[in-house]
């Protein structure tokens, strides 16, 4: 191969730290968010499919799910968008302290959400092995919980990397992507909340 002498494309001046859809990882995150979002959609669809098999929903003498803890948790989950938005802004300004501090806040909030999740499951007022309604409700909530676990782990890791690790400039776009994932996670909860905790009252 003897490439020609002139007219070549010189890319040496291109940046290596880029945000948003210019970065590869942003697309990867988007891909996995698509997969997880679609899994959640299918789980909710299965829940609604099983609903057809019963006259009452919840069936029989099963009580409606409680609303208090789930609502608190929903608010908390949505509130997580605030520190993560701050992370995004700090990352784009290459402000390491800001990224670290807001990741720490988000990690703590995520851990609280995960802990409340346990009472949220109890608030369903039904066991997974009672009947199909119980199984479906647990499945939807647990499906979303796996996303929360991943997110808390991610926030904690970033927090640690930015505190103790050798965070480089290339980690800032990753932090910004983590914020994007958090938005998806919080917003994805809204349909779950409506379907699992409100639908039994409406239908």
């Amino acid at each position: 191969m003897t490439p020609r002498q002139t007219g070549n494309v010189d890319v040496s001046g291109l940046p290596s730290v880029v945000f948003g859809q210019r970065a590869l990882l942003w697309w990867g995150t988007l891909g996995f968010a698509l997969i997880e979002g679609f899994s959640l959609v299918l789980t909710i669809a299965s829940y609604l499919y099983l609903r057809q098999n019963e006259f009452d929903w919840p069936p029989g003498r099963t009580p409606n799910p409680d609303l208090l803890i789930p609502t608190v948790n929903t608010v908390l989950l949505l509130a997580m968008i605030v520190p993560m938005h701050a992370v995004d802004r700090a990352a784009k300004a290459f402000d390491g302290r800001g990224v670290r501090r807001n990741f720490a806040i988000a990690t703590v909030m995520g851990a609280v959400v995960m802990t409340l999740r346990w009472w949220e499951l109890l608030a369903l007022n039904v066991r997974w092995d009672t009947h199909a309604y119980g199984s479906a409700a647990w499945a939807v909530v647990l499906m979303h919980s796996t996303l929360v676990i991943v997110d808390v782990f991610e926030s904690a890791t970033f927090c640690a990397i930015f505190r103790h690790g050798t965070a480089e400039r290339k980690h800032y776009p990753d932090a910004s992507d983590a914020a994007g994932y958090q938005y998806f996670l919080s917003l994805a909860w809204i349909p779950v909340y409506v379907v699992v905790f409100w639908l039994p009252r409406i239908l």
Partner: protein, 641 residues
């Protein structure tokens, strides 16, 4: 080379820089290098090799099935063994061979065809392979230990539920499915990102090779199909392990929910295997017809259409379950509609062959065999799309015949064409044409002798998944014929294996481009160096290798001392940013092992899903944690911004 070095224009690599580039992109040597490899070519090669091992195992199971059915009232296998073997055959061919091998071929070819240095997420790629390997080994360990799944590759509940499939057999199946899904989803994401963001400058959307389009479509199909089976297999595992009631009709569950979820994945899965195969064919035909492909745009659009419509077909696996007629008619319409893009593809291929000057090398023979078998399988596909006819044909050997014409004809034949075509690129040596022709003719005749009679067996009332049949049924002679054909296929696969091993030793050296092909992978050495291209090419057309002169422009200015790849824009492939890729790491293997522990322990106790993540988090942390770098490297990092 030394003489030109002095006159090298700015930005072109000197031999010393080339050597540095080689070191930068190489996997480490030895065993450690083997477990830490992240080069897309080494991962893809072991992926393909493993998938073919499973293909051979699945083939041996098929041979056992055909031996048992060769005559009525045969006692070679008892029903327990037969049920395990046919389940293993289906599971192996679909989950351990079909989907993985197509994704593996894509992992090898796509980065080369789009002109980049590596796949977008190399460590994730390695993780995908390890997960797949663990899944396959787990399934076969179960099989060897008399814990092979025995409820069919579709595992219909309640037969596969806790009551009627007591024991761990179906759990093994469900977790294997989970492993292969993880692997497939990972491959899909990284292929999408590679295709969208790492194309060589100038490879705008209208200059992407058909095969790469096919992989893009397939990856999106994987993205939306696999979550469905993941959910279904998770529900099945929970029903079996912790007593949930998703599929238990006595407690408000529904066996049909399983069928909906399963076929919502199961039908697109056929297209996950077929669409890349159509891509192979579309990029092989121009080479051997020595003419540009007719109707490139039509082909690409028809592949995209196939991908979309494939999600509207799943109910045609459920025509006998008593769904309302109007709904069924919708799915009949969709099933017939998918014949139109398939037809367009076939017509374009035939037209190109007609207008070109065909060269009858083995890859083209397999392509021609593919067209014949695919047209036949497609026509029987139109037949079974009709609800009334399907009510007779469903679950009979007519379907067995149809699905094997489609799977073997429209997936395995193009795959063999692809192996014969790209083997020289992967190994540097050509496969023997003489053995290749034996391979082809034995395979082609064998497939027809095996599966054509099965259409008639189906219409004569022979149902699927039967371990034996009575002599009075009159099915004996055609079954015997079918078994003879299966033996021919077996011989042809033996010829293929011999060809591969002989050619690896003493095949004709291939050179960069033995076929005079048009896509970018032929612009580099065979086998390609670890960095794929010394200078990334700049693309000016749909047939870069045919159009580029000796002095075609290239990309300069990418670093040699770090794994730098070029990110380009999605639509027009304009250079946009430089991204660094991670190097070799053992973390993917460790994460895969943690996932393995999670799901395999999960078969026995729900605590697996608590213990597993405990292992998963440290390994993930190891993966993500940045290594402390020397000052010089840090300086490089900062300077690169």
């Amino acid at each position: 080379m030394a003489s030109t070095e002095a006159h090298l224009p700015a930005g072109l690599l000197s031999p010393a820089e080339r050597e540095l580039l080689h070191q930068t992109w190489s996997d480490r040597p030895g065993f450690w290098g083997w477990v830490t490899a992240v080069d897309h070519k080494s991962v893809a090669k072991r992926y393909i090799f493993t998938a073919f091992l499973f293909f051979i195992l699945g083939g041996l199971e098929a041979a056992a099935i055909r031996a048992q059915l060769a005559r009525p009232e045969n006692h070679l296998l008892d029903p327990d063994q037969y049920n395990q073997i046919f389940t293993m055959h289906g599971t192996t061919m679909m989950f351990l061979f079909g989907v993985p091998v197509q994704l593996a071929m894509a992992i090898y070819l796509v980065p080369l065809m789009v002109g980049t240095r590596n796949i977008s997420f190399p460590r994730l790629n390695a993780l995908g392979y390890w997960t797949y390997l663990i899944g396959g080994l787990f399934l076969y360990s179960g099989f060897i230990l008399n814990t092979g799944p025995d409820a069919g590759w579709f595992s219909y509940v309640p037969l596969a539920g806790p009551q009627f499939s007591a024991g761990k057999r179906v759990d093994v199946w469900a977790q294997t499915v989970t492993f292969t899904e993880i692997a497939a989803l990972i491959a899909a994401v990284e292929l999408i990102v590679t295709i969208l963001k790492q194309r060589a400058p100038g490879m705008s959307l209208n200059r992407i090779p058909v095969y790469v389009w096919a992989v893009l479509v397939t990856s999106f199909v994987v993205l939306f199909a696999m979550p469905s089976v993941a959910l279904a297999s998770m529900m099945l595992a929970m029903d079996r392990l912790v007593g949930s009631h998703f599929f238990n009709p006595a407690e408000g569950g529904d066996p049909l929910l399983w069928q909906h979820l399963y076929w919502f994945f199961g039908h697109p899965e056929v297209y996950i295997m077929f669409i890349p195969a159509a891509g192979f064919v579309s990029d092989i035909i121009p080479v051997f017809a020595r003419r540009k492909m007719f109707g490139h745009t039509a082909l690409v659009l028809s592949l995209v259409a196939t991908g979309f419509v494939s999600f509207g077909l799943w109910v045609h696996h459920m025509f006998t379950t008593g769904l309302p007629q109007l709904g069924q008619s919708f799915f009949t319409g969709a099933s017939l509609m998918i014949a139109i893009p398939s037809g367009v593809q076939v017509f374009c291929w035939i037209a190109t062959l007609w207008a070109g000057r065909p060269r009858f090398a083995t890859p083209l023979l397999f392509v021609i065999g593919f067209i014949v078998l695919f047209v036949c399988g497609g026509i029987t596909g139109v037949m079974v799309a009709s609800v009334p006819f399907d009510q007779q044909a469903h679950d009979t050997y007519f379907i067995v015949a149809h699905l094997h014409y489609v799977q073997v004809g429209a997936f395995v034949f193009p795959l063999f064409a692809a192996i014969y075509f790209w083997f020289p690129k992967m190994t540097g040596r050509l496969l023997s044409e003489r053995l290749g022709k034996w391979n082809f003719w034995l395979f082609f005749i064998g497939v027809n002798v095996t599966f054509f009679p099965q259409h008639f067996l189906g219409l004569m009332g022979m149902t699927r998944r039967v371990y034996t049949y009575l002599p009075e049924t009159g099915w004996g002679p055609l079954n015997l014929l079918s078994s003879v054909g299966a033996a021919m296929i077996g011989v042809s696969v033996l010829v293929f294996i011999a060809n591969v091993f002989l050619s690896l030793r003493e095949g004709v050296p291939a050179g960069d481009d033995p076929w005079g092909a048009h896509t970018l992978e032929w612009a580099t050495a065979s086998p390609p160096p670890p960095f794929n291209f010394a200078h990334l090419p700049v693309v000016g057309g749909l047939y870069p290798n045919w159009e580029r002169g000796a002095d075609a422009p290239v990309v300069t200015g990418l670093g040699n001392s770090h794994r730098e790849v070029l990110a380009t824009t999605v639509m027009d492939a304009v250079p946009d940013a430089i991204q660094t890729h991670p190097g070799p790491s053992v973390a993917p293997l460790l994460v895969a092992l943690a996932i393995g522990v999670t799901f395999i322990t999960g078969v026995f106790t729900p605590w697996g899903f608590v213990v597993g993540p405990v292992l998963l988090f440290p390994t993930m942390l190891m993966w993500l944690w940045p290594r402390r770098k020397p000052a010089a490297e840090r300086a490089w990092c900062e300077e690169r911004v």
